[in-house]
Subunit: 318 residues, 2 copies
């Protein structure tokens, strides 16, 4: 079967065997996958990754213990947890210390004709959600995670830094949940996607508002994003860190302490709220698709995805 | 009157006039003051400070509009707030953007024979609290602030980095409030002060426990403290930042995001809980006094306070 292979910073195609299916694990045929910034970081060698990448996908279940799954379109939670530790028992398998992660940590990814995932990780995609939109469930769940971590009163103003893929999802999720999002970005065309959903958008300036917001989300993906976010935050306010930057960033801790600001790191989320939002048509993901390539043209797809300012690139089975 | 004067990194004495007393403001005669790390930073010129420093004190009210205050021993909240803004109305004058701060920001400090503070800032020192112990009310309130900011379930294990003045107060406050404090420091003699109050103490090692604590307080005053604290914290855990370091510190944000760690900056606190703890004899501050000098020997007192590893140095009126 055709599989994307990533090694030493090179993306290529390989002919891999169909993966074995242990008990409780489903064999899934890929319908569509999405290239995420994390995949691009993997290609740059940041995590010493070698193998098949891909963690955003919609597939069709080919084989499974649970007959109700067979033939269904599914999306899958990417953390493969032990199921028994204290984290798993709290429903936080995403933090299981023994976890592997689809296409990221010691589990072959979704950019292949066939992939495997435990059946407990799978969610059947509602008919109302297209396959292309379903590819966004995983990053959308990461955007929804913010609302699982902090209680933001309805109607609150929230500043958001960044208009990349994650920024646009965060903007739409928070706006759809009854918050007043004020998004700062650098690309009018991208900001317009959020603006059509009611988000107030603005081109980021040299001098940003100071100490103005009780809630600030940094999805800028920039080394200076954290410092900017802290400066924009009121005393006793909260900054949610939604994007990583490779390596260390310089942080002046004095304003964090003097103004008693809270910083909250935020990563993956539950799939349920993301599926509900997509099924209800509350999130425009179609406008975020910048291109679609068959798996056999994955090298070209990665090149496109890595071009500065590119939104979502899909990989499809055909 | 004798007053300490700090300018261009030099501590000296000056003969200043007794400060005027506007309506609502008390004239206070100094009984004892305490030299804080912030005072030492002011001397190093970090904040361009020029004038009389000092914000930890016990004094006797000489003149005031409220006759009940006259002759009383008092301590005073150090933030002079406007009283009308939204922060002041929420009882958070400590974050009033128009505030001045005793001996730190545009308000002459306590290291003088006489000082002034608004009467609303004053708290009468209970008879059960000695003047020397009363000097610790302000930093003790800063330690208590942690419990106003985060809800730590009774009996929880809390790791604490640092055994300096603030670290020892934080250790005792958290232990006295029913938490199991595990304090890491570098000085057996200092750690023994906390250990006598039931704190588990340990000499900080090259390799500290990883991902072990749900709650970690950094009072290390070290540039590496934040990184160490993050490494010691469990996924979804909380790091409380209690000590500033001048300038920027390098922070790897990846583990904060991957493990969804919360960081909480923490500064000044309300005086009430600190007064109650001291009145109840719950905090050993006497063991933290490393020396006492009359105001006229302030230069010597600062030299002593700046010696590495020195705990609290007092300045007294006589």
């Amino acid at each position: 079967m055709v599989s994307v292979h990533l090694e030493n910073g090179q993306v290529g195609l390989t002919d891999a065997p169909v993966p074995p299916r242990p008990p409780g694990v489903a064999l899934i045929r890929l319908l569509a996958g999405g290239i995420c910034n994390t995949d691009i970081e993997l290609r740059r060698g940041y995590y010493g990754f070698c193998g098949c990448p891909g963690h955003e996908f919609v597939g069709e279940v080919v084989e499974a213990d649970n007959p109700a799954l067979i033939g269904k379109r599914v999306v899958g939670e990417i953390n493969l947890a032990c199921g028994t530790c204290k984290w798993c028992q709290r429903g936080l398998g995403r933090h299981c210390p023994a976890r592997t992660v689809l296409g990221i940590v010691r589990h072959s990814g979704a950019f292949a004709e066939f992939l495997t995932l435990p059946e407990v990780n799978l969610h059947v995609l509602p008919d109302a959600v297209s396959t292309e939109a379903g590819v966004f469930v995983e990053p959308l769940a990461a955007a929804c995670e913010i609302l699982d971590q902090v209680q933001i009163p309805t109607g609150s103003a929230v500043a958001l830094l960044g208009d990349g893929k994650l920024g646009l999802l965060v903007a739409q999720v928070l706006q759809a949940s009854g918050l007043q999002v004020h998004q700062f970005g650098r690309h009018p065309d991208k900001l317009s996607i959020a603006a059509r959903r009611g988000v107030t958008t603005e081109i980021a300036r040299e001098s940003m508002p100071e100490a103005e917001y009780e809630w600030v989300v940094d999805a800028s993906g920039s080394a200076s994003g954290l410092q900017t976010a802290v400066r924009m935050t009121q005393p006793r306010g909260t900054v949610i860190l939604k994007s990583t930057v490779h390596g260390t960033v310089p942080v002046d801790t004095a304003p964090i302490i003097v103004d008693e600001i809270t910083l909250v790191g935020s990563r993956c989320g539950r799939f349920e709220p993301a599926l509900a939002l997509l099924a209800a048509g509350k999130i425009d993901v179609a406008s975020m698709i910048a291109g679609s390539y068959p798996l056999t043209r994955a090298v070209e797809a990665f090149e496109h995805a890595e071009r500065k300012g590119t939104l979502k690139i899909l990989l499809t089975a055909d």
